[in-house]
């Protein structure tokens, strides 16, 4: 087995071109889904450290009351950039990277449907990030109004760099839209014969649904920021009451994008969990059909609940009641998924390698984030939670021990397949347990702070919030430094991890595990047989 993998790797090395032009061909002009997947993953990992460093500056400022480190304006810039970077340049690209690597292999396709478009989706993301980052250094400072960009703070009172931010958002949108078109075309059109809809791996289902969501919401964000640009530069009044407009129109448009966006972030994560849990329980996923229906329901419902972000902004009563009910409903398909994962593990034969640790950690802590979400869906209660640290605690729970844990599970799970080498299980366990401790230390006390009355997006706070803020800051630093273990583990694996087989995990099922580790540069040039 090992020798065959060796000879395949040698073959791949021989075929790979050499020199500067070969570097360009391999990494810059590539049309290969595996290389593009690697590019996305590396970009996302880099931006994770950038956004994380910003978070550490924020938390250092918040260690004790008083303004010590940064000016309030720069604090607001960091708050804005931390949000934009983590959501749009870390979590989304890591999910796209996993999609690029895995989807063609999982459906028995030779590559994505439109490989050159795939390349463009990646590089336009890179240019968008460069433009976004450059705004920090512009005259007047970077954008300082939160990732939610509420008007008129971002229109009449926004710094000049805001216009550059708007164009960066346009480019980020183009990247997502083109990528989604590609994913949809791939999944519809490139499945190997015999790979019927109800045989599709859950990761592929969740990405299909996510891609549709992205196609629906990204253009609306583009429209909203275009109206912002017009209000700022062309004297229009979309969001200005003096001309017949309304700042709340921006919020409606933004959250019509913003709420489904969080499901865009989490649905592929659900897909990863649905791959990992059956493997390490050595048992098929429980309730596959309903998992598919639940995924579709979550996506559909997510398009109908956006104004629960606006409960305190003066919506009519009927709207508040509708949005409260619709938001509460999302708990049902989400609950179905969690119960089905538990039922998969029940009467399985479970081992606890690192991917499984992250998957179980996900179930525990994402569920907790879901509970606080249910609490927030109750509109009267949300009047106390909205714009407080309770909200910050909630969304960090569903995003960090939620999405990030799941994507880390996916990386530990599939990394041996991608590079044919096994990661260090010891380092993986250290990484996991440090993250569990750090995540809870950092984000759990935020709920108490919010209930006690601490608003969000503030660089300085009243004395009674000090104790919990100190704990949060300590947790954040542990979190930050534990990522270095992950980085070291990944790099070490690629360079000198021990060789692994095609199967890698004995409970793993799916077309990707029929390929060698690492898989050939072009896989499935003739479609495989599906059983």
């Amino acid at each position: 087995m090992n020798m065959q993998s060796d000879s395949i790797t040698e073959q791949a090395k021989e075929d790979a071109p050499k020199g500067i032009s070969s570097f360009l061909k391999h990494w810059v002009f590539t049309t290969n889904h595996k290389d593009i997947g690697t590019l996305y993953l590396c970009l996302s990992f880099m931006m994770f450290f950038v956004g994380g460093a910003m978070a550490l500056v924020l938390r250092a400022e918040l260690f004790i009351p008083g303004l010590q480190l940064v000016s309030p304006n720069f604090y607001n810039v960091l708050v804005t950039m931390h949000g934009l970077i983590m959501l749009l340049t870390v979590i989304m690209p890591v999910a796209v990277g996993l999609a690029n690597w895995q989807i063609p292999m999982m459906i028995g396709a030779p590559d994505m449907a439109l490989p050159r478009l795939n390349n463009m989706s990646f590089w336009i993301l890179v240019f968008a990030i460069l433009l976004l980052g450059s705004t920090i250094f512009m005259d007047g400072g970077g954008p300082n109004f939160g990732w939610t960009m509420y008007v008129p703070l971002s229109t009449s009172f926004g710094p000049p760099s805001t216009d550059f931010l708007i164009f960066s958002v346009h480019m980020l949108g183009i990247s997502s839209i083109l990528g989604s078109i590609n994913i949809i075309a791939t999944i519809i059109n490139m499945r190997a014969p015999g790979m019927t809809w109800m045989k599709l791996p859950m990761f592929v289902w969740t990405w299909l649904v996510t891609a549709f969501l992205l196609l629906t919401i990204m253009p609306v964000l583009a429209g909203a920021v275009t109206m912002m640009l017009a209000d700022r530069n062309f004297g229009t009044s979309f969001f200005n009451s003096a001309g017949g407009g309304d700042p709340l129109l921006f919020q409606h448009l933004f959250w019509f994008f913003g709420h489904p966006e969080v499901y865009v972030l989490i649905l592929p994560a659900f897909g990863v969990i649905s791959q990992v849990i059956p493997t390490f329980s050595r048992k098929k996923l429980f309730g596959y059909n309903r998992m598919v229906v639940a995924t579709l329901s979550i996506a559909f419902l997510s398009l109908t609940v956006w104004a629960h972000h606006m409960f305190t902004s003066g919506l009519p009563l009927a709207a508040e009641i509708y949005f409260m009910y619709a938001t509460m409903l999302i708990a049902i398909p989400t609950g179905i998924k969690i119960f089905n994962w538990l039922a998969t593990m029940y009467r399985g034969s479970i081992t606890f390698e690192t991917p499984m640790l992250f998957a179980v950690g996900f179930i525990v802590m994402f569920t907790f984030g879901g509970f606080t979400g249910i609490m927030m869906s109750i509109a009267p209660s949300d009047f106390q939670y909205q714009d407080s640290y309770f909200i910050v605690g909630h969304f960090h729970y569903v995003l960090v021990p939620g999405a990030v844990f799941a994507y880390m599970a996916g990386i530990y799970y599939w990394l041996p397949k991608w590079c044919g080498r096994m990661y260090s299980e010891t380092l993986g366990q250290w990484h996991f347990w440090l993250m569990v401790i750090a995540t809870n230390l950092t984000f759990f006390p935020m709920h108490f702070l919010g209930l006690a009355g601490m608003p969000r997006r503030i660089p300085d706070y009243a004395l009674q919030f000090t104790n919990f803020n100190m704990i949060v800051t300590v947790g954040a630093f542990i979190f930050g430094f534990s990522q270095l273990i992950f980085l070291y583990n990944v790099v070490r694996t690629i360079k000198r991890g021990s060789r692994t087989t095609a199967q890698v995990w004995d409970g793993a099922e799916g077309l990707e595990w029929t390929l060698s580790s690492p898989p050939p540069h072009h896989s499935f040039q003739t479609p495989p047989d599906i059983k």
Partner: protein, 385 residues
């Protein structure tokens, strides 16, 4: 974790360096729950919050116990062999319908509380609340009383040059005084960007949207002082515009109403000397101007122009400088201070600006000069949407 320790020790050094003693053990709290509050709405919200939390805790207990059981009982190292079922319709139906019923049970009381919260009719007293950068303006609509309410924590405390007081960042110069046991209707709006008026113990949070009025209400049941903060990012001093509501008995409220004066727009003084005016001017400048134009006058161009060596600030005519402060610059972040500050305050600020840093105009502006410009431009109110 070596780096983490050196982070902490850096902070400790900087704290010692600025001579601050941390009153943390005295003031910090470990409170972990929503306050019950002092209004029927805040108490209803508290009950809903506890109900939802209890239900979630109950479900969590069941789910997590089951998970822990599974993780122990079905480990391969214990010899567990995998079963091969992969669906059970009855079970799946149960765990679809049961959550739905639980949600309906939560939705009913929630709807009732929501309907009550949004019913501002039959109010006894109406207050118009206007948020601006970075203060609140209160107007008692039928009583012709209005004033600005600003953070009163000294800047020395914020910058670590003095020990922080008990109500650091939660104290104002003029609280909103309200009577107990009367239904108070709040009409919330803004002068510039979106703010949010939030007092947790009253159970009130309402976004202040420029150009629109949105209503809320509260009926305070117990006298006391209730503190809150702005709850929507509104610029650099978002953390520095708190709310203080002082609830008093109806008798005390009537007395307070009687004591209110009209705004002091035409205050005059005979004793106008450069050194006292520079001191007063510096204090006012730090409070009202330095947030944007900076302590050293360098501003943050292009949004916040530099005052140092600006032709407006050191050049003539002086009336141009006074007009700019009175009327602001419409369409920019520079507000009109005519309605917010008295002639004496504005005169002191302008005197300070014209003589601070490396300016030496020697100009001493009097309140009378400011009053003359007010009359000339006949613009005595802050710009309203």
């Amino acid at each position: 974790m070596k780096s983490r320790k050196s982070n902490l020790s850096y902070l400790q050094q900087s704290l010692t360096g600025i001579g601050m003693s941390m009153p943390i053990s005295a003031m910090a709290e470990w409170g972990i729950n929503l306050p019950k509050g002092v209004t029927p709405v805040s108490r209803d919200i508290y009950d809903l919050h506890m109900l939802t939390m209890a239900i979630c805790a109950g479900i969590g207990l069941i789910v997590y116990s089951f998970l822990i059981f599974i993780l122990f009982r079905y480990r391969r190292s214990r010899g567990a062999k995998p079963a091969d079922f992969d669906n059970n319709s009855t079970l799946e139906n149960i765990w679809t319908v049961t959550p739905f019923l639980i949600l309906v049970a939560m939705a009913i009381p929630s709807t009732l509380v929501l309907i009550d919260m949004e019913d501002e009719s039959n109010a006894d007293i109406t207050i118009k609340i206007t948020g601006s950068q970075w203060q609140w303006h209160y107007a008692y609509l039928d009583k012709d009383i209005e004033f600005y309410s600003r953070l009163s924590t000294p800047t020395e405390q914020i910058h670590g040059k003095a020990k922080k007081g008990e109500w650091y960042l939660l104290e104002v110069d003029k609280p909103l005084v309200l009577p107990v046991n009367q239904k108070v209707r709040f009409l919330v709006t803004s002068d510039d960007v979106i703010h949010s008026w939030w007092v947790p113990e009253l159970g009130v949070k309402r976004d202040a949207i420029p150009g629109y009025i949105h209503e809320s209400w509260a009926k305070i049941l117990e006298p006391g002082i209730y503190r809150g903060q702005c709850a929507e990012l509104c610029g650099i001093d978002h953390a520095f515009m708190p709310i203080v509501v002082k609830a008093v008995t109806e008798q005390e409220f009537t007395q307070w109403l009687a004591q209110q004066n009209k705004p002091r727009l035409t205050e005059q003084t005979d004793d106008w000397k450069m050194d006292t005016e520079m001191r007063a001017g510096r204090e006012h400048y730090m409070r009202y101007c330095a947030a944007c134009h900076q302590e050293d006058g360098s501003g943050n161009p292009p949004l916040f122009p530099a005052l140092t060596n600006s032709s407006v600030v050191v050049g003539k005519p002086i009336s141009r400088h006074i007009d700019l402060v009175l009327q602001g610059v419409p369409g920019s972040a520079m507000p009109a201070f005519a309605g917010q500050l008295s002639n004496a305050e504005i005169a002191a600020i302008i005197t300070y600006e014209r003589n601070a840093w490396d300016h030496d105009t020697g100009d001493l502006i009097t309140p009378e000069q400011v009053q003359m410009r007010r009359l000339k431009t006949s613009d005595t109110r802050a710009t309203q949407p």
